[in-house]
Amino acid sequence: MSRILIRGGRVLDPATNRDGLFDVLIEDGKIAAVEAGLEVPGAETIDAHGRWVTPGFVDLHTHLREPGQEYKEDIASGGRSAAAGGFTTVCCMANTHPVNDDPAMTDYILDRARQDSPVRVLPIAAATKNLEGKVMTEMAALQKAGAVGFSDDGKTIMDGGVMRRVLEYARMIDAPVSVHAEDCTLVGHGVVNEGPVSTRLGLPGNPCAAETVLVARDLLLAELTGAHLHVGHVSSAGAVALIRQARERGVHVTAEVTPHHLALTDEATLGFDTNAKMAPPLRSAADVRACREGLADGTIDCIATDHAPHAPHEKDVEFTAAPPGVLGFETAYPVVMDMVRNGEITPLELIRRLATNGARILKRPELGSLAVGAEADVVVLDPEREWTYDPAKGFSKSRNSPWTGQRMTGRALVTIVGGRVVYDVERGVIAP
């Protein structure tokens, strides 16, 4: 029987609303006890004095690029990067090559993940065939194969009739539909947030209305169908307000926000840095404020990284030609810790949004929890640790981060998945 005892840390477990100094005992891959003063002879001991001990983070939105774009990332490198960031479960989007729109592809991804990934990988399958927004995928078969949700992420289902059918069908199998809400006719050629910054740069603008129009439509369709709508990477104040109103009238909606939309404004693009190019784009300071407030008050359920690796040669081009997206795993925790340091959110509520709420959305109560009997996915965090982020020293294959070279405060020290230590800040990624 394998045993790990994590001693003396500040245990933050949103699932049991626990915040205090406890020891955590892991036995055979499960949480066995959370108590003060545990003595367990023979157990491997991790000293967590002065640290936080929390459920491993659950990321509902990542791009692991396998199959098809292994030069950017693969399930092994993405999984290692996730482990180094404190993530123990990551959902991978379907926009691989080929697209994950077939049970065989879902099988393949899960098989690769079992062999290669130190963290749990849960595929989100395409909602429509080849992400074309026209023909529904075999959602029931995909779910049976292991898909935990459905999304055409990266693209928007522009046909409202198709979207309605997708929601109706997903409701039958009780699966969330995650949406990339950008009306592509309003985005046009837009590559940066429309406003003073796009005007100064002379780059085509992408207005907030491109997001809010689609969020409004999908909220109304969720209301019509009773389906579970999950709004991906919320970026605008308008979208936060729409989600808040919809939730108040009982629409089954959940939402996520990325660390970059919580921390950076469109002014990060002023030097034409393609590592500040994302979809949806970085918005104004008022939008950032609204996203932070929405996260704090619970309108936005969780933080998802939208980890989107791209190779240097793809980013090192004209701003308009560069693909959107940035790395997310290894910088997420220190970046969002800013909200705790500013007093905008308590540590326990931050962990709820990094770990527990994602598991709740996936209807996987055994994840994102330190309750006795839960899966022993645990991370030991140092909220004070200062370090300098260098993607070249990280685990992703790509380098596209807007935080390269920046000082960070807060870091994952130890990541445990299913009772196995998979990452240690001193030793690096240990397993598989």
């Binding site: 100064r200 740069l201 780059l203 603008g205 034409f272 040669h313 081009v317 004209e318 308009t320």
Partner: protein
Amino acid sequence: MIGRDLLGIEDLDRHDIERILETAVHMQEVGLREVKRVPTLRGRTIINLFFESSTRTRTSFEIAGKRLSADVINFSAESSSLSKSESILDTARTLDAMAPDAVVVRHKVSGVPKRIADVLECPVINAGDGAHEHPTQALLDLLTVLEEKKRIDGLTVAIVGDILHSRVARSNIYGFTKLGAEVRVCGPPTLLPPGVETLGVKAYTSLREAIDGVDVVMALRIQTERLSGAYVPSVREYSASWGIDRAKLRFAKEDAIVMHPGPINRGVEISHDLADRRPSVILDQVRNGVALRMAVLYLLTGRPHHPKEAA
């Protein structure tokens, strides 16, 4: 102090602009000589790196370099990294290896001269990038207005047309406001950039209101494909509302001048008879372009080289 590169007017202060304009006044004299050549940049190599075709600007830079006795090489690469295999930065590095003393860059995407400047050892001059900046155009416009009005401070300038897609508009907004002029922009609502007021200008859709009492009317070139329903319903509607002619010009000051960066769509942005005669100063702008670019080339390459890191 003017830096190593000239990427935009936004980066310059009033003193930099005045220094370039003063230098350009001296350079104008060279163009009046029988032998229009001085040895100032002898032995220096200037590459015109044009990813987007532009006969006028390229020719102006070429003549400017040659009048200063520099060796001028034209490198046309009308492609993007999307359609051709070599990336812009690789092209730039290749040219850099040949040790030029300055590279003049034109590209249809905003920000490319900046990206190139980040990898090159030598000074980079932006000859127009996307809808971002066209600094030498704004400087030659300032020089032309200065010739006509003897001052910039206190003037009112109306820039009319496709502001949204215009690098000329942006550079002129920065240039004229930095030298103390009031700038108004005017065009169809679909071609006014969101938040343009944050650049320190007033925005108008009514031409009559925009040019009321102004000293300078600057019409911009509009791509005719934007006038077929995408942004404006028709050419006819555009020219009726925003085309400059003598009748509309009556609302401006009596001695107002009319400018255009060229090439002109006659009868669209500016009426036929107005294009050729005063108060239009379009050919003066072209003439001043050479002297202005001589000044810029001289100021950026006529000095001993300093490591770029020091900039």
